[in-house]
Each structure stands twice: as C-alpha cells, then as structure tokens.
C-alpha cells in the first residue's frame, strides 16, 4: 500500500530528467572534432544509468532505445568514432526523444513509437556506417524485455485445489477464522508466530496469490487468520487486479521463521511483512491490557511503523489482532503510520489519508532539514555554554554546571530523535531487488535465489536515496558476471541455484551493506591481462590481490566479453565507488576464484554528523573522520626515511607509507617540526594509506557538518567544516582528497 514501485518510479523519473539536462548541457559543450573526454563520459553515464533504471522497471522501450544510444556513445568514448555535427544533432534529438518517452511513461501515456523507432534506426545506421563490426543492435535487447511484463494469467495457475485437501485445510483453520479470540487450542505445541502481511496493490499483478500463501502456512501448523478489509474500496471503485486486503496471522506449530519467510518469498518486495515470535505470556498480557497496547501503538506509529520486531510491536500487533475487524480506527491508524514512511508514495495517486484521524502526519523533508539544522546550531551553542560554564567560579557555578549537564543530555536526546525522524529502513531500497533479480535471471537464463537480510536496518533518508544505484550496479554485476549458468555451476559441483545475498547491519556508527554471491568470483588473471592490454599496468608489474581488485574500480574497465543489455561497459564500478565515496563511505571487495565475491559498503548513518578525531596543528584544530583512521602512533626517528624527490616515508607494519605534514598542507605554524615530537595519524583512502603528521590528538567527538561549498567554496582536501565548542571553526579533512593531491605531487 505504501511502497509500491511508483515511489521508485518517481525517483527514477526525477533523476533521469536531471541527468538528461546535464547530458544536454554536456552535448552542447562538446567541441566538434576535439571532444573533451570527461564530457563524453558524462553523456555516456547518463545513457547508461537511464538504461539501467528503465530496464529495472520494465520500461523496455526506453531500455532498448538507450541501449542503441549507449552503443554509439561507447564508440565515441573508445575513440573509434569522431564527433561530427550530424552526430551531435542526432544525440541532441535523442535527448528530446528520451525526455518525451520518460514523460509519456510517467504520465502512463503511449510512447510515440514512430518517432522513437525512426531515431533508433538513425542511431544504428550511424553505428553501422562508421564501425566495421556493427555493434549489438537494439533488436535482441527489445525482444526479451517484452517478456518482462507480468502476466496476469500466471495467477490462476496456482489456484486449483483438490476438493478433499481444501476441505481438510479449511477445517483446520476454521476454528479461528470465524471466532473472535485468538486462543491457542489445547494440545497444540510449538512456537507461536505473529505475522503481519500487508500486500501492496500490485501483488496480484506480480503473479502472487495470498490464498496460496495461506494454504502453505496452514500446512505448516495451526493457522488463525484475521483479515483487514479497511482499505477495501466500494465495489464500483475496486480495481479487481489490485490487492486491497491485509492480514494478521497467527501460526502455531513446530515452525521455523525460515519456513514462514519461504512462503512469502515471492511476495517479498510486494508487501509489508512482519514476522514475530510470541510467547503465551506476552500475548495474554497484551490482550488484558488492551488500552496499554493502544498506547504503544500510537508510540510506534509516531516513530516508524517498520521498527524492528520488539516487545512493543508484539503488543501492537496483538492489539489489532484482538480487536479484530470491528476495531476499524485502530487498524487505520497503523496503516496511516506506514504511509508516513513513504512520503512520495501517494502524492501522485491522489489518495492522501486525512491527517486528522491518522496516527501520523506527513512532513516535508525540508522542514525536517530545517529542524536538523537548528538542532545542529543548538548543539554548538550548548557546547559553547558548557565550556564557559567550566570556567566560571563562585557559589552558583555548581548549579550552573548541573544545569548545563542536563542541557547536554537533553540536547543529545533531541538530536537523536530528530535524526530518527529522517531514518528509514533499508527495505525501501531492498524491495526493488526481488523483481529485478527475477527478471534478470530469466533474461540471462540463470537460476538465482535472492536472499535479503537486515531489511529493517535504518539509515538516513539522504543516504538511503543515494545508495540505491550503487546497489543496483553491484547486484547486476553479481548476476551478470558472478553467477554462472546452471550448467557451469553443475559442472563445478555447485547447486544450480546461485545465491545473491543482500545484507545490512549496523556496525558502530556506521551501516554496512553487503552484496555477496556464490558465483565465479573475480578472475584475477583476466583482469590483469585486460589492464596490461589497456596500459593501465606495466607488462612486468607484479600486483597484489588487493591492487588487482582495485583495477575494477577504474573508469572504463570491464572484462565482460561482450556488452549486454545488463552490464559490461565498465561504467558500473567506478560510478559505484564514486557514489559511495560521496556519501563518506568506503567499498571493499573480497573474492575467491570459484567461490564468489563479496562487496561490503560501509556508510555513515547520516550525512549531517560525522564521528571525528580532532587533531591539533599549531593553533588550529582539524577533524579527521574516524572512518578514515587506521591508527595513530608516535614515530621513532629510526623508522623514518627520506626518499629523494618523493618526500618522507615511515615504516608501518612492513610497509612504507608517505608522511603528509598537515602544517605544510595548510600553511600553519606548528608547535613542532620534529617527527618524533608530534604524532602520526595513519589514514586510509583511495585504497592507499598515508601518515598525517600532527602536533597532538585532542579527542574524539561527533561534529555537525557545515558545508564549506554552501558557505564559502570548495577547498581541495577539505570536505566541510564544523563549529567547535569554543566557537572557532575547524575544518574536516577529506582524507581521500588529500591522498589524491599528495600522490599527484609525488608523481610531479
């Protein structure tokens, strides 16, 4: 009901329109004859990401068209074709057509097929004319895409029941189905599960039938079914192909959660699903204290409807259950709360729930950002007061300090609550994958099982929005390059079904999102050969595994033997890494030949606050993001060597790392220039490590990030600024930027 695919559609359209604008601008800047490589890359990336997005959402016309466009652009990028005036005209026309197609799809209007196919023909003609070996035409790409449309006729296939079996199942479930109280019949042992199953409207269209799921559940144990018909519109307005019912189920029996999840496997992404184990005590208590549970419901509605299953949530679910169909408003409230999760979801559908009688309200992101900003300012003011308070002497000083301590506590709580408002479970991103994986697997003739775990892990909305594309790239890569075809897998002694696993969890102040597969893993030799062929690596250079893995993150690097509609043009990984870096995160790769690969993306929970180590250089304070720090140490003079022309290095765990003196970098007068008198912070970025030489370490603290770009301008090596407790401004170091700059200098 809340997160249907249209929500992602909106984001996709928004991004695509923006991207097309930048593509147009780049095209207009493109010099005929002597094009700027970066511009071509920009144009290419736009085409590539629109292709990816439209393929994901099943907009096959757009995917097919952009594929042709991309093929032409790839010729430009590789230099095998030159930019000519007719070509730049053609490309600009393509932008117009793409825009028109996107608008048409957005408005659910038919696409002007004639115009599209004419232009696509022109594009392909141009490719064919210039290149000796014509690139992949759009033809084959379009054909499989057409089969993506979910066929409604899949649904009934699951329905037929043999009379006898149906009767016995119905008999088993009948006790609870009509009765008002969810009692556990005597003699039933095993665990009790509470399942809240709220399908999105498209559930039927995806070939899912809740009835089949209920039947499977009833086979697992004793099933009590409560239906929620609140969302059911009047018959005349009811679209029979949409699901408007929701269920709360109680399953008793010797059942593992895994088995329940399996029942809902195909509906994953098409429904809100909550599974919680309940023990008898909890339920009874919750039923007895119905009003208390109602209170809990309001509380959970206020924060997030998809909070992890906790005692409170159990109580909530029980309250709904015990009240049954009669308690209409209660059920409606829960629904209202979940609506608030997806602010965009309903805007276009014109089905806004009335604000007055739902337990939640919809607030624009701007307002929350304002709130966030004000709280940030308050935190700074509070820190200033605390510092002042510490200096005050006298009779009232003690009272003042007690008050300040309380202020600090409250501030921290306030800050956390405001941040929580912006937090959404990562399921908003994950839920687009089941469909994508299914479609891709079908198209590539592979058998793939998608495993999603940790969907309830919450993270900041901004981070959430930006992590989607990198994840799509990674999952696509896993499916296209990682997982082998069933025959190859069988030959290697692996199960025919390849597994792609998406996992999210909190690690300290960060969130780790993992994409792993049990496919072929990276072929180091092939990567190396390719890199040598492209001159990225000298013919005799010996690289470590990690350095080889680094290669796949370079722009334009792809080992795919032929480019497909899915992936293989090597734009993916460099974009992935750039996006992750923009979020202040990092991406790591572990892979084993024949066993699979695993990408781990570590991201900060929020972009507004960073955990930092404050360091002193002279009279200045700088903040080094903790995520970049490996360790800090004091150097012995004997560890330091000087290389002619390449500065100083020190030995660190068998490695030699360059030393970057922050006082030189920022032109500050330091307390000491002797390496052994100060400290070295070993920091990591761009896959490399350096030692940052500072005077002293001051302490770790969370700092509120103030954009330097917005208030001043971009400074190389600085990612932002913050205001310290004493009111002074401290710069936050951009460690990867510093390392880049340093390595450039070293080369020069």
């Amino acid at each position: 009901m809340t997160v249907d695919l249209t929500q992602f559609h909106d984001a996709f359209f928004e991004e695509s329109f923006e991207a097309l604008d930048s593509m147009e601008a780049a095209l207009l800047k493109l010099d005929i004859g002597a094009p700027d490589r970066e511009l071509i890359n920009t144009i290419f990336r736009v085409a590539h990401s629109i292709k990816g997005g439209s393929a994901t959402f099943g907009f096959s016309d757009i995917a097919s068209f952009t594929h042709s466009l991309e093929t032409l652009l790839d010729e430009l990028r590789s230099g095998s074709m030159q930019v000519t005036l007719p070509m730049s005209d053609l490309l600009l026309k393509s932008v117009d057509v793409l825009r028109a197609m996107l608008r048409a799809v957005q408005a659910k209007q038919p696409v002007d097929a004639q115009r599209v196919s004419d232009l696509q023909f022109d594009l392909e003609l141009m490719i064919a004319q210039k290149s000796a070996a014509p690139a992949v035409s759009a033809g084959p790409a379009a054909a499989p895409a057409a089969s993506l449309a979910p066929s409604a006729s899949q649904a009934p296939a699951a329905s037929p029941v043999s009379g006898a079996a149906a009767a016995s199942i119905a008999d088993r479930s009948a006790t609870g189905a009509g009765g008002p109280e969810p009692t556990t019949p005597a003699g039933l042992t095993g665990r009790r599960w509470q399942i809240s199953f709220r399908p999105y409207r498209e559930l039927f269209a995806r070939g899912n039938d809740p009835l089949r799921m209920m039947r499977e559940l009833a086979d697992l144990g004793h099933l009590v079914v409560r239906v929620d018909t609140m969302a059911l519109p009047p018959l005349s307005e009811l679209d029979p192909s949409e699901c408007h019912l929701a269920w709360t189920l109680e399953l008793t029996g010797d059942v593992r959660e895994e088995a329940i999840r399996q029942v809902f496997e195909w509906a994953e992404g098409d429904c809100e699903l909550m599974i919680a184990q309940i023990d008898a005590g909890t339920t009874t208590a919750a039923l007895d204290a119905n009003s208390a549970a109602a209170g809990a419901r309001t509380a959970s509605a206020g924060t997030s409807a998809s909070a992890p299953a906790s005692a409170t949530d159990n109580a909530t679910a029980d309250a709904i259950l015990s009240a049954g169909p009669a308690s209409a408003p209660a059920v409606a409230k829960t629904e209202g709360a979940s609506k608030a999760d997806g602010p965009k979801a309903d805007a276009k559908e014109g089905q806004v729930t009335s604000i007055g009688d739902s337990g939640s309200i919809r607030v624009s992101v701007e307002k929350i950002d304002e709130l966030m900003n004000t709280v940030g300012e308050l935190v700074i003011t509070q820190a200033m007061l605390s510092q002042l308070g510490a200096q005050i002497e006298g009779a009232t000083a003690e009272k003042l300090r007690a008050g300040l301590a309380q202020l600090e506590r409250n501030m921290r709580e306030l800050q956390e609550s405001v941040m929580r408002v912006r937090m959404l479970p990562i399921t908003f991103v994950f839920s687009r994958f089941p469909r994508m994986v299914r479609d891709l697997a079908q198209r590539l003739g592979k058998q793939i099982e998608l495993k999603l775990t940790g969907e309830q892990t919450e993270l900041d909305k901004t981070v959430l929005e930006k992590i989607g594309d990198p994840l799509v790239h990674l999952v696509r890569n896993s499916i296209d390059h990682g997982i082998e075809s069933p025959e190859v897998r069988a030959a290697a002694g692996k199960p025919a079904f390849g597994t792609v696993h998406l996992d999210a969890c909190h690690r300290g102040g960060n969130i780790a999102v993992e994409v792993s597969d049990d496919g072929a893993g990276l072929d180091k030799d092939r990567i190396l050969a390719k890199a040598r062929a492209r001159g990225l690596v000298g013919p005799n250079d010996q690289l470590t595994d990690e350095q080889i893995h680094e290669l796949i993150f370079l722009p334009g690097f792809s080992t795919a033997e032929k480019t497909t509609d899915v992936s293989g043009r090597g734009v993916g990984m460099d974009v992935v890494r750039r996006n992750v870096k923009e979020l202040g995160g990092k991406i790591e790769l572990r892979t084993e030949r024949g066993k699979g690969s695993r990408f781990v993306i570590t991201l900060p929970l929020t972009l507004a606050i960073v955990d930092g180590q404050s360091v002193a250089v002279g009279s200045e304070t700088y903040i080094v993001p903790l995520i970049s720090i490996v360790e800090s140490m004091q150097l012995k003079s004997s560890n330091v060597s000087r290389l002619s022309g390449r500065g100083e290095v020190f030995s660190f765990r068998g490695d030699y790392l360059p030393i970057i003196r922050l006082h030189e970098l920022y032109g500050v007068e330091p307390h000491t220039r002797n390496l052994h008198e100060g400290l070295v912070v070993v920091a990591e970025g761009e896959g490399r490590r350096v030692g940052l030489f500072v005077d002293d370490l001051l302490g770790q603290q969370q700092v509120v990030i103030k954009s330097l770009e917005a208030n001043y301008g971009h400074v190389e090596g600085v990612s932002g600024a913050t205001i310290l407790g004493d009111g002074s401004v401290a710069l936050i170091l951009d460690v990867p930027g510093i390392i880049r700059a340093a390595s450039l200098r070293a080369v020069a």
């Binding site: 009934p156 699951a158 329905s159 119905a170 239906v227 029979p240």
Partner: protein, 127 residues
C-alpha cells in the same frame, strides 16, 4: 455485457439459463433471474475478475434478498474473494441481504483461509 460467455465471470443459474438465452442480450440485469439468483461461474480468479466485477455491480442494488449460487465455482483466488467480500459488505451497508446457495469446497476453503468467512456471513465451518 452482451457478449458474455461461459468462463468470463458470471452466468445464469443452470435451470433458467436456456429459457432466457434469447432475451438475455437485451436485458440489463442479465445475471439475475426474477427470483434473484446470481450464479458465480467456474472461474473466479483474477483473470476473470473484470467480468465478475461487472456482474456483481449489476446486482449490487437488487432490492430483494439475493441468492448467490456458488455451486459452480471451481477455481477462486484472492482477487475473486476480495471482489465478493466488497460486494457483500456493500450490500450490508445498503441494508440488503444475501443468501448463499450451493456448496463449493474451493470457495469455502478460500473464504476461510483468507479470513473473510465472517465478512461473507458464511457458516463457521465449511459445509
């Protein structure tokens, strides 16, 4: 409405169907006999749901107690049950009654498994 055929949603109860075959095309309430019987067809799945919906809409405001004959139902899914539940609920809110006629294991099983037996006013245990 005029070109309705078997399997596209609803049809006459078997006894009256032949007698009224000719006049059916001209009638607006083609699915009710004068006695007020609405017969569900064998296929009540999402594939046939559009026809089922229009059939139900036609008899929604049938003022007399309407009998719904489920005997023919062979296949039914959540989409079908959902339509029928919406129909029954709306009849109730209009103060109009319905009565179930015939038995169909598939129908009863689906109604119970989906927890709508009470909404439909079906007996607690499938008959």
């Amino acid at each position: 409405m005029k070109k309705r055929k078997q399997g596209t949603g609803v049809r006459h109860s078997r006894t009256k169907a032949h007698a009224r075959a000719k006049s059916r095309a001209r009638r607006t309430k083609a699915n009710t006999t004068p006695g007020g019987v609405f017969a569900l067809s064998a296929d009540c799945t999402v594939a046939a749901s559009a026809a089922l919906k229009s059939g139900l809409l036609e008899v929604l405001r049938e003022p007399t107690c309407l009998a719904v004959d489920i005997a023919a139902v062979q296949r039914i899914d959540t989409a079908g049950i959902q339509l029928i539940a919406a129909f029954v609920r709306e009849r109730q809110s209009l103060g109009l009654q319905i009565e179930w006629r015939g038995t169909a294991p598939a129908f009863a099983s689906a109604a119970h498994l989906l927890g709508v037996a009470a909404v439909l006013g079906l007996p607690e245990r499938p008959s």
